[in-house]
Symmetry: C2
Subunit: 324 residues, 2 copies
DNA sequence: GCCAGTTACGAACCTCGTAACCATC
DNA sequence: GATGGTTACGAGGTTCGTAACTGGC
């Protein structure tokens, strides 16, 4: 058994069992992978992939288990490399952050500015995507951190730590009937067409819950994943915006009126997640603490030791999180 | 980085940094290992081993971390092999049990007889040793199971599950003054020279505690690790034996008198332990359940998911364990 | 001077890439 | 016929063992 073989089977799975595509992605030849995969199967005496003729059609049950462990191994190999780099290049390395538009645009810039000032030799890469893409990137090891609000709980391979609560605001243009109001009821809001985040995406569910709790059905005429896009359509008069309060910039958005809606919808919690068993560089701990000051290295290490999502939730049950 | 290199560094550590001995043990050449170790160090850019001249003197801090992860990886490589064997040879394989004399001699024979009858193709190997040797064998992966009463908690890499409680008996020859007594007090016992397990070994501490609790100091004139040895010296009239009740055979030991001492010393708990993250073959689950019927596969899997020793202890807090 | 690790070198083996071939859609 | 996997084969590199060498105790 070779590490290379484990890499190959893991990557073949990541490429939907397409060996040619895998080869291209790994800058190697297709026959090479094909052969190593079969050699591993021969050595183990089992089929990892089911085949119809020459095509790989599915992963066998035995294969599922093997691939799961192979991914653990490959993650730990990366950990060894990171341990070494921690000694050879203390303040140098990569930091891959997978997150949503809103976080990247409104929550992270301050932190990242400070961070790159402190760690000029750390190369920072941002990966944007849907919450599930984000979580998967972290679970696969493509990203060091996943920062998002929802869907993260679906990946049991991730350690997730709560960072902060946030609320929504209703946003309208200055000439809108609601513009003069300082407070709005859910019934009033329900009369207007809404412009808000894509349902099922990041942060929609609390909005739905807010309306349903009052026996109302929201009328969403336009939805998108990015607050900037939403604001643009609010400006066009398409409807009333319901967006994260932190996504309202007093300068840029001075042509809009924002009305706090924290009494209409329950707050959401943004979390930071990373792969279980992965080694965190010192600067990664530092990043976490800059992003969420209550998540000191000690706290993070304690949470890592717990490993279980429910236990970690309990650990933070009585911690007062910041509100943004 | 090659798996072979990880194997080498792990084995060099297991052989007290003696490369020649490692090479011999792995049936390979000393220069081969030496070279691969340095190649790995070069690749990682760190020293794993500290050297004075040509001798390896110690493991560096970075090395400690790397070796820890390397062992995880090697354990998972074994898991992959076991997964494969679970499919290719369902009722076939190896079972390595590390345990103490007493368990091997009195607790296990029944179970093992049944087990080899059910699984004739499983090769069973028993490794005897002190509790710490036993735990280490399991933690290193040399043994699948560690079965012992003490010292197992020192190894955080092990999952330990409680199997049964047991008590001690006072054992004397038929002509001894105590032979006619049906019950003994701690004060009476303190008047006689004792023959019992080596202190610090398996099961001594509860005996010490029993005496100290009454403000007494036991006078141990002879100690050994094996109940059979102890009984032999009781027969010679060297002293009064205090041994595990299960180590008294009504037939073989009919020349001795055993008096229950469960009211003098708190019971001990025998545990079964195995390495965290290791894959357990079906027959291994079966073995556990035969040895401790409350440890069904479900229960074991739940405990494995908890991972933490304290949490596992809580899990069994209200379980009534059998008494032997 | 002995023990233990390093350097040097050659044989055997393995990995990988190219090219030709073949199965499935 | 296009896509994708297997077989065949040769070049290049890697690993491993033997042998000679060298630094500590």
């Amino acid at each position: 058994m070779k590490l290379q073989q484990l890499r190959y089977i893991a990557e073949v799975v990541n490429h939907n069992l397409n060996v040619s595509a895998t080869a291209e992605n790994l800058y190697t030849s297709q026959p090479g992978i094909s052969k190593q995969v079969r050699m591993l199967e021969d050595e183990l005496g089992i089929q990892i992939f089911g085949r119809s003729g020459k095509h790989l059609t599915h992963v066998t049950p035995a294969g599922e288990q093997v691939i799961k462990i192979a991914n653990d191994i490959l993650g730990k190999v990366e950990s060894i490399k990171k341990v070494a780099e921690e000694y050879t290049k203390p303040d140098q390395g990569e930091l891959n952050i997978a997150t949503t538009d809103t976080q990247a645009r409104y929550a992270l810039p301050q932190i990242i500015r400070q961070f790159i000032e402190r760690y000029p030799k750390v190369n920072l890469h941002m990966h944007q995507g849907t919450p599930s893409q984000i979580s998967e990137a972290a679970a696969r090891g493509d990203a060091d951190f996943a920062i998002a609000t929802e869907a993260m709980h679906l990946y049991s391979d991730l350690i997730m730590l709560p960072c902060y609560h946030w609320n929504r605001s209703v946003v309208v243009s200055r000439d809108h009937p609601l513009a003069s109001r300082s407070q709005i009821s859910i019934e009033e809001l329900a009369r207007f067409p809404l412009v808000t985040y894509v349902f099922g995406f990041d942060k929609a569910s609390e909005i739905e819950r807010g309306f349903h709790g009052a026996g109302l059905e929201p009328r969403v005429v336009f939805s998108a994943t990015s607050a900037d896009v939403l604001k643009t359509y609010v400006r066009l008069g398409l409807g009333v915006g319901v967006i994260a309060s932190m996504a309202i910039d007093p300068v840029i958005d001075k042509d809009l009126v924002a009305i706090d809606a924290s009494h209409l919808f329950a707050h959401s919690t943004t979390k930071i997640g990373f792969r279980k068993g992965s080694f965190l560089r010192s600067y990664m701990y530092d990043f976490i603490e800059r992003f969420a000051p209550h998540l000191t290295r000690d706290v993070v290490e304690k949470a890592v030791a717990l490993r279980d999502a429910q236990l970690i939730e309990q650990m933070f049950a009585d911690v007062e999180l910041p509100l943004r």
